[in-house]
Amino acid sequence: MDLRRPPRSTSGGVEPKIRQVGFVTPDVSAPTEPAAVGAAPAPQSGTAVGSPTASDLAPGSLSPVMIPPPLHADHLSPDSPSPAASDAILASSAPQPSSMRFDAASELGEDDSRSLAPSAGELEANKGDLAGDSASIPQKQKTSKAERRAIQEAQRAAKAAAKEAGLSGKSTGAASGANPAISKQAKLAKTSQKKDVPHAASTVGSEKKISERLPERDRKKDAPHPRMQFDDVHRVEKAKKRAIVNQSEARNRVELFRHLPQYVHGTQLPDLESKFFQLEPIHPSVYKVGLQYLSGEVSGGNGRCIAMLLAFREAIKDYSTPPNKTLSRDLTAKISSYVSFFIECRPLSISMGNAIRFLKNRIAKLPLTLSESETKVSLQTDIERFINEKIVVADQVIVSHAITKVRDDDVLLTYGSSSVVEMILNYAHELGRKFRVIVVDSRPKLEGQGLLRRLVAKGINCTYTHINAVSYIMHEVTRVFLGASSILSNGTVYSRVGTASVAMVAHAFGIPVLVCCEAYKFHERVQLDSICANELGDPDVISKVPGRADLGHLKNWADNENLQLLNLMYDATPSDYVSMIITDYGMLPPTSVPVIVREYRKEHLWV
């Protein structure tokens, strides 16, 4: 050891910091946060960091680069009575059975902007809930797979909540003392509901140990569970037996895509329409939305998700529990059947998948003592809040961030039709910025034409071209704005087919590519190319070119077994083509996506 080196503990600034994974809430307000935020986006996007954008935003809101720290109990001023109450309750409940703490933690973990403060009465109700749950555990074999998953979700959520509560530097020692106990206890919850709690007084320093101790089993459960692969004949047969929609598999399938479903279009819609009044198990509004998916009337990640959630809200409103069944299990089963119906109409988008997980999670976490009508009302408000917070308000936040990237005399390029990008362009135009837009479109959906029409109607100067001309037009462009169906954990952007080509050409010309995506669409899956997971559309639309009757060369393509037509819906853009992702959590580089997925998935996405 070099004796001339000053000992570490003395001089300032050389303290080895215990690296805190996740977000740390200090006692001061959020904008001084950036240093402590371990996973904050490195200032690679220099423009994001350098620009003093506070002036553009509403006063009191965050500067765009910084990922806001998790909303926490003792942090939110509007709900100050509730944190105090929960703290008091926790402190008093320390000697009490840890089941209470388990519930309290789950209460804490939830979004505290809830108007309902955990009252003592509710705590008892929770205790009863837990007792009820433990009573139900011996009947494990009777619960269906969905319910088991719901229970596991609830337990995982509680565990993560406990970890989150433990990681934040809470001032109350008792609460933090309770937390490692809770987390350990939550670990054991699956095996048995034993209440022995080693009560260790933990400090902030022990957070790291807690996170390390998260069991291997649990980490594996965090991995997304694999989707149905359609080249497995048995599972396809089973799925067909349960199917409501009659679908015949397409002929002339492309070998490379055997693992994805492809059906002959055109036969399903009339068949379903005729069965409209006979389909008892499916709620009419769900049926209607399914038809809209099939016909293509409703498309786009946000649109489909909102339509589905509203249909579910209607279905819940009209729901009544059959006798001898518990609401949560039966409702979950019903929702699952609706989801299968939707899948048959059109494979789920990732946004829809996340919303369904949220809903099932909410159903599973319902307190048992509420009456049926109260439960239904609570679920409906949950759905409305999800739509409002995760989609509507998130879009507004994205627009407010992105508007800082639109300057005067900009030439912005966009591909296809994304709802968020359209909002950004409209808002920029309202603010009076001088810019023009280039809309790039492609076959067979030609979604850009709709966007073009709407933009020109607003008075925005537009240029329209097709995707082959992207190299030609790219030398005029200053920024590229793209939407996404989802962003995966390795930073890959999963969006409409053709986006990858546009991003690649922009990257080749050195033009920044900004992807705008709400955070609820993020997914923990990873994907390297566009083949492993995709959606196959109707191949007939490729052979028919609208407005060009002379191009009938491929009219009878199905007759020839050597000829296949491929209509891909999505593609995967590698993360190195993306300069920045704009979400409601701020403006991030693509490498920060798994951080958001991991840190915010459990508590904050699931309200």
Binding site: S442, N461, H466, Q564
Partner: protein, 414 residues
């Protein structure tokens, strides 16, 4: 000359109105037109080659300006000028040495000999030997005595030059004859370029290949047919190539030959290219730096191929090789076509009425025809002279074109 003017005007009109399109058809028709021009040109007594070249230049100027984007026109005009120069050089060289043996025209060898029976067989043989042998130390040493012998005979012929006007007319006829024959060769070369390129298909395509192509190129089609003939197994992804959608036609043709074909949209090219072994495309023109003028969308394909390390092979006949270096080719060597290919006028007519204060329309539609692919994205050129890398293409220019023909303009006016 007046006989040929209506032909020229007719062709100019066809070019201007884009009635004839595609490098093969254009090149062929240009060559045939120039052959008629040469055959109907009245040769003067002196400076025939220069006069002939001048006539070609005046016609060529008109043709090139009719459609400057169609580079094949300029290529053929420059080829013919080069032919004239070459024929002239070889015939004057022979004239000095008393022989009318030309290096280039193989067919003319016999007739040449018949015209000059006065020369001895020995001198003939030695000259032939010199002409056909590659330069080496031996030939250098051998040259000295032969050339002195030839100069002696040349001086003798030179004296006899004046006495035969018949000689001169023979020479005149000879030059025209040679040039016309050479242009005939050129036309044949244009027609048979597909066969020679297709012969190389077997070397590039082996078993279980997956090939990607964009749009429809006749050269690519023949290339793939040849590989199929030789029983190589491969699959083809054909991107449809909007806005012309010629990919559909190519797919149909390939399927008829039994090739496994999948038609994809242009937007799916990046998605599929990770599973592709080779990209084979045709070109509209090849520039002197090795860059390619190709149908729109090709640059995107080339970039995607580079990203996935897939070889990008361009197949093209040598009549597409242009001696010019491109400057800003996306703009200067491009043509914007009608927006009706992309947007239906009827549907969007209401958008056309909006305008800003200065009257500029709010809606612009861009529909370019060509794309420029820089040489660094091209892995290989397969031409009828074999396979070349892009950095080599400029050497081929000296074989086909002469340096002072780059700007085709009438010399007599300047």
């Amino acid at each position: 000359m007046p006989d040929v003017q209506p032909l020229v005007s007719e062709f100019v009109l066809k070019l201007k109105r884009r009635k004839v399109e595609g490098s093969h058809a254009v090149a062929r028709q240009t060559a045939e037109l120039l052959r008629s021009v040469v055959s109907q040109h009245r040769m003067g007594s002196t400076n025939q080659a220069a006069a002939l070249a001048d006539a070609i230049r005046s016609v060529g100027e008109q043709l090139i300006s009719a459609n400057p984007i169609e580079l094949a026109v300029g290529n053929i005009v420059r080829r013919v000028l080069h032919i004239i120069k070459e024929e002239d050089i070889s015939s004057t060289a022979v004239g000095i040495e008393g022989l009318s043996v030309t290096v280039d025209s193989d067919d003319e060898y016999d007739s040449g000999n018949d015209d000059h029976p006065t020369l001895s067989a020995a001198v003939l043989a030695s000259h032939a030997r010199n002409a056909l042998r590659a330069p080496s130390l031996q030939t250098l040493l051998d040259d000295i005595p032969v050339s002195t012998a030839l100069s002696r005979s040349a001086s003798s012929t030179g004296d006899s030059d004046g006495k035969t006007a018949g000689d001169k007319s023979l020479k005149t006829r000879k030059l025209k004859h040679d040039v016309i024959a050479a242009i005939g060769d050129l036309i044949e070369e244009i027609d048979t370029c597909y066969d020679q390129i297709s012969e190389q298909a077997v070397e590039l395509i082996h078993q279980n290949e997956v090939i990607l192509t964009l749009g429809r190129s006749r050269t690519v089609k023949e290339f793939l047919y040849a590989a199929k003939e030789k029983k190589r197994s491969f699959r083809v992804f054909v991107a449809e190539g909007s806005p012309r959608y010629q990919g559909h036609v190519l797919a149909k043709e390939l399927v008829e030959k039994g090739v496994q074909t999948t038609v994809i949209t242009d937007s799916a090219i990046f998605a599929m290219i990770s599973r592709v072994n080779m990209v084979i495309v045709g070109a509209h023109a090849i520039m002197a730096n090795g860059g390619v003028i190709a149908p729109v969308g090709m640059n995107m394909v080339a970039l995607a191929a580079q990203k996935h390390a897939v070889p990008f092979v361009v197949v093209a006949g040598s009549h597409k090789l242009c001696p010019l270096y491109p400057h800003n080719p996306e703009v200067l060597l491009n043509e914007l076509k009608s927006p009706s290919d992309l947007l239906d006028f009827g549907e969007f007519s209401n958008c056309m009425n909006f305008s800003t204060q200065d009257g500029t329309p709010l809606l612009n539609v861009v529909n370019p025809t060509f794309d420029y692919v820089p040489p660094k994205l091209v892995s290989l050129f397969v031409t009828d002279t074999g396979g070349h890398s892009p950095s080599y293409m400029y050497r081929l220019i000296s074989e086909y074109y002469s340096a002072d023909d780059l700007v085709v303009q009438r010399k007599s006016t300047s």
